[in-house]
């Protein structure tokens, strides 16, 4: 995970819950509302890392309503990811929630990103895998590394952005123009 202190903030899910376990649609919606207020209060942030430290168990309904819906709300503009997952055993219900909602959700385990939810299209699979290894890239860099045309690389990255797999930030290119750096949410 690379550092972007100016545009990343971390929220601890347990701070928004009244016990270690989260379940049910209604409670998920309650927690979602509280998280939403916290997100809206953090203007200027691009990435919200949701730490699940201290959360013992969640069911699919809670995971979907509390967090996956948050990711879906901000898809393409801000990013939501899960951090501090103890191990892969805890992923199943998060995975089911993301898959059912058709909303990708990035989960970080041992410093490595894992994409939960629906798989990308066949045409974008290789690009996403490359990005998960690489962390971030411009379209120009990606086109060189994967031997794609610039237009093709740009299109694929934009699709992955719009579908919720990646985010991007605007930067000034060496030539003085605007270019986008696409990155894994985290």
């Amino acid at each position: 995970m690379y550092s972007m202190n100016r545009i990343v903030t971390q929220l601890r899910l347990r701070d928004f819950m009244d016990s270690d376990d989260g379940w049910g649609n209604a409670y998920g919606r309650e927690v979602h509302q509280a998280l939403l207020e916290a997100v809206e209060a953090s203007s200027g942030k691009l990435v919200f890392r949701i730490s699940v430290a201290g959360v013992r168990r969640v069911d699919v309904s809670f995971a979907r309503e509390a967090i996956v819906e948050l990711a879906a709300r901000y898809r393409g503009s801000e990013g939501v990811c899960l951090v501090d997952l103890p191990n892969a055993d805890h992923l199943e219900n998060w995975e089911a929630a993301a898959t059912r909602r058709r909303q990708p959700l990035t989960a970080w385990i041992d410093g490595k990103p894992r994409m939960l939810g629906p798989p990308p299209s066949r045409g974008n699979k290789a690009v996403l895998e490359h990005m998960l290894n690489r962390g971030e890239a411009t379209a120009a860099r990606l086109s060189r590394e994967l031997n794609l045309t610039l237009t093709n690389a740009s299109t694929k990255l934009k699709q992955l952005l719009e579908q919720g797999y990646l985010l991007r930030r605007e930067e000034i290119s060496p030539s003085g123009g605007v270019e986008y750096t696409y990155f894994v949410i985290g």
Binding site: D18, S19, D20, D21, W23, G24, N25, A26, Y27, R57, D59, V60, S61, F62, R64, V68, D89, H90, E92, N93, A96, A97, T99, R100, R101, R102, Q103
Partner: protein
């Protein structure tokens, strides 16, 4: 003259409960306003049967019938067990108990102290018990704590219970309480988890969603629809909801759990296969005596 349902003088699980109920006229639909449930000496009621009986007794009371539970073995055996499990405490006040209702219930003294069971817990539509699935799953965790997969097992149980209980709160549309219960049967190496409600049945809520689902699902039989709900997920709500039953099945099948879904006049019994619950391992029993609501039980295999 009361309609009498007599249970057998041995273990009574959901199967034997239905056998006893089917041996007479429908206690719920028959115009006779008196019903008597008789437990001979030696009878032992298991929790999946008990939870159906508890719901049925409340339904009978709701339609104004006079109900009696008679324990021929006196205060020993099943009477004592049901007192300890909170079953007697949950009965409507108008229900007569022979020999008599305990003046001080055993559950009031011992609630929460047995690591192998969770007493019959009401699911009240107007008062959500936020900690109920956790209590149920933690009992299982304490009992299997030395297993390598204890955490995974308790997460599976938590998921199954929370999704079932949330369904009662969200979909049952009744003021009658639902119930949840859990019991480990170490001798048989099994844990029984059961959730019951007396409201809108599972099939009714699934069929309400057929307007927004693929037409092929409208052609499914009731059994196939239930299997589809547990295999692939269905919902009457949009936005990705409806995966709850499927995830329950995904967790449960890992522990070779048999699943029984009692509907109004039928039951679907799903046995796990290598790829989950499938239509060819689903067994339907039709023409059962009417019982409102949905009554779901999972039998987790614990081994050893």
């Amino acid at each position: 003259m009361a309609i009498e349902v007599r249970f057998r003088p041995s273990w009574i699980d959901a199967y034997w409960f239905e056998r006893a109920l089917s041996a007479t006229v429908s206690v719920l639909r028959h115009p006779d306003m008196q019903a008597r449930f008789v437990f001979p000496e030696g009878s032992k009621l298991m929790v999946d049967a008990g939870i159906r009986l508890l719901s049925l007794v409340h339904q009978l009371d709701r339609v104004g019938k006079s109900v009696t539970l008679e324990f021929e073995g006196g205060r020993d055996g099943t009477f004592g067990y049901l007192d300890r499990m909170g079953f007697l405490e949950q009965l409507p006040t108008a229900v007569a108990v022979i020999p008599e209702r305990p003046r001080i219930s055993a559950v009031a003294q011992y609630r929460g102290r047995n690591p192998t069971l969770v007493e019959f817990e009401p699911i009240l539509p107007e008062a959500r018990d936020r900690h109920l699935p956790s209590r149920l799953a933690d009992v299982l965790l304490r009992s299997v704590g030395e297993r390598e997969d204890a955490t995974a097992l308790s997460t599976a149980a938590f998921t199954v219970l929370s999704e079932m209980i949330d369904n009662v709160y969200e979909h049952s549309q009744t003021h009658l309480a639902g119930y949840a219960v859990q019991q480990l049967y170490h001798g048989g190496g099994r844990a029984k988890l059961a959730v019951s409600d007396s409201g809108l049945g599972l099939l009714d809520t699934l069929k309400e969603s057929l307007n927004v689902l693929p037409p092929r699902l409208a052609e499914l039989s009731d059994t196939e629809l239930v299997v589809e709900a547990f295999r692939n997920g269905l919902s009457r709500c949009g936005g990705g909801r409806g995966g709850g039953l499927k995830i329950c099945a995904d967790h449960a099948v890992r522990y070779r759990s048999e699943l029984r879904v009692r509907l109004y006049t039928s039951q679907v019994h799903l046995k796990p296969s290598t790829d989950g619950y499938s239509p060819n391992m689903a067994y339907t029993t039709d023409n059962l005596p009417p019982l409102w609501g949905t009554h779901i039980s999972f039998d987790f295999e614990l081994g050893g």
